[in-house]
Amino acid sequence: MNQFVFLVPIFSWLAALWIALGLMFSKTDWLKREKISYYLSLISSGLALLLLLVIDIVALFSDASSYVVMGEWFSSGQYVLLISFLLNPSALAIATLFTLIAFLTIHFSANYMHREKGFHRFFMVINLFIGAMSLIILGGNLVMVFVGWELAGISSYLLIGYVMDRPLATKHATRALVTNRIGDAGLILAMFLLFAWVGTTEWTLVTEKISSINHFTTGLIALSLLIAASAKSAVVPFSPWITKALEGPTPSSTLFYGTLMVHAGVYLLTRMEAILVQSPVILLTLCILGVLTVLYGWLSGLVQSDIKGSLMFSTTMHIGLMFLWCGLGWFDFALWHLGLHTSWRAFQFYFSPSILQLANRHADVVPDWLSKNDWLYNAAVQRLWVEQFGDAMMAAPIKKLAEDAQIFEKKVVEPFIGLPEQTHAVSSMADWEDKLAGIRGSSSNIGKGEGLFGFFLETVAGAMHWFEENWVLRGSGEGLLNFLQRLGTYLTHIDYLICQPRYLLIMIILTFIIIV
């Protein structure tokens, strides 16, 4: 029975593919097709759920965990990427729970999304996501997890930007995906390190072999996995993306940020318990990150004025707690917390619109101690400036750098390579007067070279001409002075640029690259 587990993601992906093909080629009215998309998704997730239940029952009566290898995905030398699943009790339990929630979500969304323009798109992405999520949970090696990881990230991008003509929504979607990519980079690194030092990424083998490897390398592996988990679970410092991710329809927000995807990071941590416990430093980091996230979620949550916002911050806080449990070594406890939190939060998210109707009162006011402390209150409203900090450290320098590079390309590289300019127009009156007086650009009467060699010839000729005219003929004085002055301005420019933090950063990175 266990070897059919690969069908769990496949069911959902086939449904997604079918809906996608319908979007492309179907000529039937999109409203009439709503039923098809809905039933297709319901059946696929229902089948996945049934299959998992059967596997659960078999597992209850047989040996606890089983490791299924379906075959080789691809391989190159010692890098063998297997398609494998590890069905241990925790994986099966979480997978069943998640699939159940997904199944219910699909049922819920059918009415919620009815007559929405993006009905089919929504269901397509939800199916893609459900398959990806089950792969993260059931996958027997890091490669499988990575596949699910990235697909889940893309689905989240597509659903945050569900309302495609709202600029803010798409902006937040982009931000979410880019932040997620940092985590993906961590995962790629972890995959490589595992291949290089352990020779495999299969969980079972890694668990066996990891204790025989030196602490520094285990620490590195754990660190890169930690980066991946933190980015996905939106732990400080990666938190800001998740509170902005609630742009999509309620069912998708629930599925991604309230329940399933946000827990993927914690789940990964429990899955790699064997690696983490080898390196105390990483465990300590986990604790610190957990505590920081709890503070962040709790403080910012207190000042939220809308229900989704406060639910989201509360979720973040709980994730922080789970990180803390992992850091303390209570992995099973974290898993229990995960399961219970998922179930409760899913209910809360779905119920939240109705709660406003039923309760019919204002949100709780901010507690006294917080509203009296101006500084703290401000910090909470600003969400502890985590986002601004990230922007100032990463986004802004890269943007500036890109602008600088563009100038460099146009002003330095292209002229240096020496090809025909697009225009030979003079740029200013002063230029024109210079030209008339034959001060600059006089070499152009001699001949215009084209191409690399032509350019060299022309430059050499021009430079000699200039040298002769300015220095030899006029003697010392004006020419030399002008030259020095110009050189001085250039140097000031370069000096100014070097002092910019982004260039300092680049130099550090460069040194790093050269040394390694």
Partner: protein
């Protein structure tokens, strides 16, 4: 009598079909029939090339489908063609992207259609020649033969105002490189003449008898100088963005999709100068990394999606150079896979952007925005191929980039880290410009009145996307074909 398919001169047949079609185009009275002639010829050639893939023995690392005839006997130049696992797949892919470009610009060539199709067919012939020739002089001839069709295609049918300049710029770059190439090949031949008594231009013989290390170093730099502009590497890349802006979309797709320069590194540079490559692999890696980072950062600064794609392509080809520089199995397999992936993804993206340009007359964020409202399919396919270029698992980009990254981390760890950092940047540059052009509210009048992909265009998009999915889900299809030859390649230059 039964003749096995592998003994059939299939490569020559492809040449004959394509070149004779380029003449045949002129015989039909109706100008509009020219495109049909071109399409049929390319399809027939595609069938031949697929037959080659079917008959290819993937367990054999040697060249297959070899044809060797004396050509210029006085200096020992042969008409010597054949393919191994590394070059085999580029033949059908060249024809496929050619057909896709042809179909994509089906109604767009009204000016001198016969000449256009003749030149396109000649370009295809020359490109296939580059991929399949096993004689350095023959290779050089095909290499230079790609230039003149490109020159006229860009300067006559380009879409930008400065297309002539762009064409001149391109040709000058390539000519400059060509000199170095020829010089290197002649040096090699002369050295062999000294030892063996006759000139040797034959690639297989040259590979079997590498020259002395000192000479290898000279040849290494000459060959690299020759291939560098075509790859392109920083700072010799400036022609690519200008071609992307000025050239016709079909040609941009061919030029960015088929990375002849990188193929040259794999086929000629490393196997001919293995010792020099072992000495200077760090230089190749450095140049590769520079390209990756520089291209990615510049792509982030672009406001025009064609420019962005051009810089992204510089960044991605840097990855291939880095993979080659690793000089190990993963590196070469990843690089070949990435080159195959390029044809589909980069080529496909340029064609899709071409559809957008055809409808709206611009690809700049200034004149666009909210394309999704009227062209949801186009938006979807651009996103899909874009994600493939970000190496999303399940698309053909993933196995390629994964193999290159692990090989780089293995050999040039620092460079590998740099690549991992650019993974994040690549998502940023693609999605930022994608958001500004395709998402949001449609404000421009040309966008509001545009129609979505239909018929022919949809077929091109669907074929490209399904290839991405198939190769991404079953990477072994490709890796099995290339594994023996790449292992032999890596065996030539086992890293210390």
């Amino acid at each position: 009598m039964y003749i096995p398919l592998s003994d059939f001169p299939l490569i020559s047949l492809i040449f004959i079909v394509l070149t004779s079609a380029s003449l045949l185009v002129w015989l039909f009275p109706d100008k509009q029939q020219a495109k049909w002639v071109a399409l049929i010829a390319m399809s027939v050639a595609l069938v031949f090339s697929i037959m080659m893939v079917a008959a290819f023995d993937s367990q054999n690392a040697n060249f297959q489908f070899i044809e060797k005839h004396s050509w210029i006997s006085t200096i020992n130049v042969f008409y010597h063609v054949g393919v191994d696992g590394i070059s085999l797949l580029f033949l059908p892919l060249t024809l496929l992207i050619g057909i896709a470009s042809l179909v994509a610009s089906w109604t767009k060539v009204s000016n001198m259609p016969r000449l256009f199709y003749t030149l396109l067919l000649l370009l295809e012939t020359a490109t296939i020649g580059v991929f399949s020739s096993l004689d350095t002089i023959l290779f050089f001839m095909f290499w230079e033969m790609t230039l003149f069709p490109l020159f006229f295609l860009i300067s006559f049918w380009g879409v930008g105002p400065a297309r002539r300049l762009a064409a001149v710029r391109y040709i000058l770059f390539m000519m400059a490189g060509g000199v170095a190439l020829l010089f290197a090949f002649v040096l090699l031949a002369l050295d062999h003449a000294e030892h063996q008594g006759h000139l040797v231009f034959d690639l297989v013989t040259l590979m079997e008898n590498p020259v002395a290390t000192e000479l290898q170093i000279v040849v290494f730099f000459l060959l690299f100088l020759g291939f560098a502009p075509k790859i392109p590497v920083f700072p010799l890349h400036t022609w690519l963005p200008s071609i992307a802006m000025e050239g016709p979309m079909a040609v941009s797709a061919l030029l960015t999709g088929l990375k002849l320069g990188a193929f040259g590194l794999i086929r000629f540079l490393i196997p001919l100068t293995p010792d020099a490559a072992l000495k200077f692999h760090w230089l190749l890696a450095g140049i590769g990394v520079t390209g990756i980072i520089y291209g990615a950062i510049l792509a982030y600064a672009q406001t025009n999606i064609r420019q962005m794609l051009a810089y992204a392509s510089i960044s991605h080809v840097g990855l291939v150079v880095l993979g080659i520089a690793s000089l190990n199995l993963q590196g070469i397999q990843g690089s070949v896979f990435q080159l195959i992936n390029f044809v589909i993804v980069s080529g496909g993206l340029f064609l899709l952007v071409g559809f957008l340009h055809h409808r709206t007359g611009t690809t700049d964020i200034l004149g666009l925005g909210g394309v999704v409202n009227t062209m949801p399919l186009l938006t979807g396919f651009v996103l899909f191929l874009g994600l493939a270029s970000l190496a999303l698992p399940g698309t053909s980009g993933f196995p390629a980039e994964f193999l290159i990254i692990v090989s780089a981390l293995d050999v040039h760890t620092g460079a590998g880290f740099a690549v991992i950092i650019t993974m994040v940047l690549s998502a940023a540059y693609f999605l930022t410009i994608y958001r500004k052009i395709f998402l949001g509210k449609a404000t421009s009048i040309v966008v509001i009145h545009a129609v979505d992909l239909k018929g022919r265009e949809l077929a091109v998009a669907v074929i490209m996307s399904s290839m991405v999915v198939v190769l991404g889900s079953f990477p072994s299809l490709i890796i099995d074909l290339i594994s023996q030859s790449t292992e032999a390649w890596a065996g030539l230059v086992s890293h210390p």
